[in-house]
Every structure is written in C-alpha cells, then in structure tokens.
C-alpha cells in the first residue's frame, strides 16, 4: 500500500541519520581516548611515540 511505502521511506531516512550520528559519536569516543593518552604527562616524546606505535593496532581495533 502506498502509505506503507511512505512510512518505510521515512524510516529509511531516519535510519540513515541515526547510523551516521552513531558512527560520528563512536569515532569521537575513540579519538577522545587516543587524545587523552597523548595528553598523559610525564612521558617523553620518544616514549610516547613508542607507546602509541604499540597501541596503534589496539586503538584501531576499538
């Protein structure tokens, strides 16, 4: 029925918005964690590079 199609189209549009918003949010959470780690003081630049290199795959898996 036409009206069903209308509702389905509206649902699809809504779905797209929710998915985009959640992707943005989850990516933001990971970036935030990454940035927080970078912000830890008391670690030298070299150490930080080493740590982050080691963590890269772990972070990407988040």
């Amino acid at each position: 029925m036409n009206q069903n199609k209308i509702l389905i189209d509206a649902l699809r549009e809504f779905q797209k918005t929710v998915e985009t918003a959640q992707k943005k949010f989850l990516d933001g959470v990971k970036s935030s964690l990454k940035q927080s780690i970078k912000d830890v003081e008391g670690i030298s630049q070299k150490q930080e590079s080493e740590i982050l290199a080691g963590l890269e795959s772990e972070l990407d898996a988040l």
Binding site: I8, L11, K23, F25, K30, L33, I51, G54, L55
Partner: protein, 606 residues
C-alpha cells in the same frame, strides 16, 4: 615514568568500544522494515520499535563512554603514571569525561532532531495520502459529470430556453475546471494498465465485430475459420448455438439478454454490440452477483418470469461447445468453461465509480459483501474514524487493525465506545479510511437509505438510474454497428479528450477527431461563443446549432450566414462543446500547433 609499557604483555587498553559500523552488523531498522512489510509490526507499533532501537543505540553509546574512561584509567595504571587523586591524571580523566559527555549531548540532539523530522515527515505524507484520496474522488465525480451531460438527450435548440444553454455552459465550465485540476494529477500505473487492457480488448472485439457481420450473413461459415474460433475463446465465449437452433437463434438469445439487462440495469448494451465489453462484463458480473450457478440469461438477472421457451433457447445456445482454441500444430484444444469468478477489473472500476468510492478496483471483491449494518456503524462516526479515535482513545495514533481489532492496545479500560466499535464494526481486511470521504457524501447517505443489504447489491440498483434510452427493444436494433470496426475505443477517446481538456462525450471523439484545425480555428474566432455571436449577428434570434452551422439562410443576412457556412464546417458537432476550450491554454496550444486535426494534435500530447 617507571615502567616501559612496551614490555607489558597485557593489552594496555581495556576499552571495548563498538565498531562505528555497528549498524551493518545489527541492522535493527532493516529488521523493522521487514517486519512492517510482512505485517508483523502494525503502523502504530513502528514508533515503539523505533524507541526500542534508539534505546539500544543509547545503551551502546553509554557503554562506549564507560569503556573509554576505563581504558584511560587502565592505561594510566599500566604506564605507571601516578594516580593519587590530585595529580594531572584527575584533570585528564575529567577532561575526557567532559569531552565524552559533550559528544553524547551532540549525538542526542541530532537524534532528537531526526525524530522530529521523522514524525513531521509521517504526518505530512499522511496528509498527502488523504489528499490523493480526495483527488481520486474528485476524478470520479468529474467522470460522472461528463457522463451525465453526455447522456442528456439532444434537443432542438428552438425549443430550448436560453436558461438551458446557460446551465449547460455552467456545467461545461465546471467540467473544464475539474479537468484543469485533474491535469496536474499523474495517472496511476494500475489505471494505465487497466486502460491498456481495455483498449486491447476493444481492438480485438472490433475485429470480432467484422466477423460477426459475416456470421449474420453467412451463418456457420464464420465458425469455419480457426482465427474466429480463437477470438471467441479469447472473449470467454466457449459455446455457440446448435445446428438445430442456428446461429441466428443464438444471436437472438444474446439480444434477448441485452434487452433484459438493459431493462434492469440500463447499461447501454444495445449500443454496445453483441459481444461488446459492456455486454460481456454485465453478463459476468451479474452472473456472479445474482446466481453463480445460473444457466440462462433470465436467471442471470433474477427474472424467473421469463418465457420458458426463451430460457430454453439460451440453454440450447449453451449446449454446443465451440471447438477448442487453435494451437500451434493446427489442432484444437478442448474448450474451457468461462470462469464464474472472472469479473474484470474494468467492471469493478465501473461499480466503484457508480458508488463514488475511491478504492482500488481490485478491492471490490473485498468490499461488495460488507453488510450495510456494518458500514452504517462506521458512518455514524461522522467526523471520520481518526478524529473519533483520537478523541475517544486518548489521542493516540491508533491503526486500523487496533481500531477494528480485539485488543486493548490503547492502554485504556475497554470503554463503552470501544465496545461499540468492536461489536458493530466488522469490516474484515478493509481499511476503514477508504470510506472516509464517502461518509458524509450524498452517495454514502443514499446507500444507507437504500434497501440493499450490501454494496454489491446496491451497486446493481445504480445502473438503472443512468439516463440512457432503453425503451427500444433490443431485438429491433441492429446488434452490431456497421461502424464498430472503425470506431475509436471509448476509453481511448475519453483519454484523448482528457488530454485535450475538452468536455465532450467520449462517444463523440470519432466525430471531432478529424475536424480540420482550420475549421476549428474559424469557430474559435467567435470568441464569445456561438449563441452570443448568433444573437448579436443573426438578428437576435435563438438560432439552433443546425441553422448556425447549416446550409440554410433562414433568419440571417446573407453576409453573416455565408461567413459561417464558408468558415465553419463542424458537421454534426455542437460548437458549444468547445465553448470553454476556446479561451483555455489547451485550446490556444492546439491552435498554435502545427497539427492538422485534433487527433493529430493529441498524439503529440503525453
């Protein structure tokens, strides 16, 4: 920094944050759409499911935030940064927490906006849907108006008062307005398909008409040709008169049937030809509506008083089966019985038009047997079902199934009103909203005031109100018009006329389609309309169309009369039919075109 974090074999982070492409794994909306399409989820429940999905999304987001915070804490522990509650780690974690909550707030705001848009979209589309329904009704009403005017008997103009002309002009103007409104509407695919089917059938029947003319002349010789047999089968005709009874008797039996149906239903079958669409559909329709097991024409129309010999003649007509349809190797298959349930979409559409109900023709089978008492109960809710439900069922958006159903999904106690609906309304699979435009209409009231038990029964009584001439016995008429084969199908004519925006009868298309544009242009130059012009120029007399367009010079001066005679040659066409078209954009478009005739012009229209 005391420990080298790279030496630690444990993961530094313990932050299980979902992948950002989480929806590809879960696809909760896809599942919702699937369930909705399958009818598992009703429209009202869509909101609930959406809320449920959003709750899950929110839960995932909160978990991700917690994991991010835990991940940072673990990291700090493992890299040996002192976490004494006063150092920078506190600030770091506070900062992270603030960031996460800001992101969460941003996400929530986006979702809220999306939800609002979703709700608005649904509401807007629902209104548009309702508007479409209304427009569909308007289309039907317009068709009825055209049909009504087309059925007005032609009266010599000397005997008609100017009032009548004014009325006709008003009616034509109304139709022109309706048609302009209709112009913006797209023709639904189903209607296009239906029209195509009708045209194809009509073309096939035109071919058959030629054959029938030969049949009348040559009797059984017609049946010697395999292609004629195939045509008859295609039309659902599987039996012919026996040799004893003869072809003439068989045709006479059909004539009798047409006359009987005309007297009962006023369906114009006589003009339709023996095997015309109307006759065929009427037979099939009423065979089912009245007596599915009927054997003869009089039983079809419920007339048990028919002379025995006539009923007998029909039986004889049905006793001899046609040879089977020709197949590739030249052999013939066994004739198939005409299916009792083969009511065409076209006839359903006709029924719905008569009722003025804007529902699909395919659904006629669902609605025709709805008991009147049930519909009456619905119609008592004069303000329409949704308004009523909103007021009485706490303003909730209740779907039809709930409205008509047995549940108590509204969360309210089952009130007296709900009981009233449940006990009085039983429309089965029919969406009550389909009748919303009909509720307060004269047609809806007429149905409720009738003695019919259901819509199917009622529609049969409507045919008798058509203003067609049925006083002439069918048997005295020539059953198949000599012109049938060359006539443009009625439906196609109507379609052409709609494209042009001319409010004349579709039957007359054949008369107007070949009028040279030069002649029409000459007619249109009389911008004020023929009668005004004639009254002014032909000494104020009430000149009829024949005089206006004719050969005489009865009341006019030579110059004016000659002018008309030489410039206007519209044959049998009443120039008033073009009255509203003269100044219309469509009329102007035609005049400005290079087409030589209306038919040529209509082909350029899409």
């Amino acid at each position: 920094m005391q420990n080298n974090p790279m030496e630690n074999q444990q993961p530094l982070l313990d932050a299980n944050i979902p992948e950002s492409n989480v929806t590809e794994e879960q696809k909760p909306f896809d599942q919702l759409v699937t369930d909705f399409e399958a009818g598992v989820v009703k429209p009202r429940k869509v909101d609930d499911r959406v809320t449920e999905i959003l709750k899950n999304v929110n839960r995932e987001n909160l978990t991700a935030m917690e994991n991010a915070q835990t991940g940072l804490a673990n990291f700090l522990d493992k890299v040996g940064v002192k976490n004494d509650g006063t150092s920078e780690t506190i600030e770091l974690r506070k900062k992270q927490k603030k960031e996460l909550h800001e992101m969460k707030a941003e996400f929530d705001a986006e979702i809220e906006n999306a939800k609002d848009e979703f709700a608005q979209e649904c509401e807007r589309e629902e209104k548009e849907y309702a508007l479409l329904q209304t427009e569909s009704n308007a289309m039907i009403q317009m068709d009825e108006k055209v049909s009504h005017i087309a059925n007005q008997p032609t009266t010599p103009q000397e005997n008609v008062s100017d009032n009548t002309d004014e009325n006709a002009t008003i009616q034509l103007e109304e139709i022109a307005i309706d048609e302009e409104e209709e112009e913006e509407m797209e023709i639904p695919e189903e209607i296009q398909a239906e029209t195509k089917k009708i045209v194809q059938t009509q073309e096939m029947e035109n071919e058959l008409s030629d054959g029938l003319l030969q049949l009348r002349k040559n009797g059984q010789g017609f049946l010697a040709k395999p292609e004629n047999i195939a045509l008859l089968h295609d039309l659902g005709i599987s039996k012919i008169p026996t040799d004893d009874f003869g072809a003439r008797g068989g045709l006479q039996a059909i004539h009798d049937l047409q006359a009987a149906l005309n007297s009962k239903l006023n369906t114009g079958l006589v003009e339709d030809g023996i095997f015309g669409n109307k006759t065929k559909n009427a037979i099939k329709t009423y065979k089912i509506a009245i007596n599915p097991n009927a054997e003869g024409p009089y039983q079809y129309i419920g007339d048990n008083t028919a002379p025995a010999e006539k009923t007998e003649s029909w039986k004889i007509f049905g006793e001899q089966p046609l040879p089977g349809p020709v197949i590739e190797n030249g052999a013939t298959a066994q004739p198939a019985e005409v299916a009792n349930n083969d009511i065409s979409v076209a006839s359903n559409s006709e029924n719905l038009k008569k009722l003025g109900i804007a529902i699909d023709a395919q659904d006629w089978d669902d609605v025709k047997n709805i008991p009147k008492a049930d519909l009456r109960a619905v119609f008592k809710l004069k303000e329409g079902w949704r308004t009523w439900v909103n007021r009485n069922l706490s303003g909730s958006s209740v779907d039809t199934a709930t409205f008509l159903g047995t549940g108590n999904e509204t969360g309210l106690p089952i009130s007296e009103n709900i009981d009233r609906i449940k006990t009085s309304v039983n429309l089965g699979p029919i969406d009550i909203r389909r009748f919303s435009n009909w509720v307060n209409s004269p047609k809806g009231d007429a149905f409720l005031s009738s003695n019919a038990k259901n819509l199917g029964e009622y529609v049969k009584t409507l045919a008798g109100t058509d203003k067609q001439n049925t006083s002439t016995p069918a048997a005295n008429k020539v059953p198949v018009s000599e012109n049938t084969a060359s006539e443009t199908p009625e439906e196609k004519s109507a379609d052409n006329l709609k494209k042009l925006g001319i409010a004349i009868d579709a039957h007359d298309w054949k008369d107007v389609k070949d009028i040279p544009s030069a002649d029409l242009k000459a007619a249109f130059k009389l911008k004020e309309g023929w009668r005004t012009w004639a009254n002014r120029n032909l000494s104020g007399s009430s000149v009829d169309t024949a005089t206006f367009l004719g050969t005489g010079n009865e009341k006019t001066g030579r110059e004016d009369s000659d002018r008309i005679k030489t410039s206007v040659n519209l044959g049998p066409i009443d120039i008033r039919r073009f009255g509203n078209w003269v100044n219309s954009p469509k009329g102007e478009a035609f005049l400005n075109s290079n087409a030589n005739t209306l038919e040529e012009y209509v082909k350029t229209l899409t």
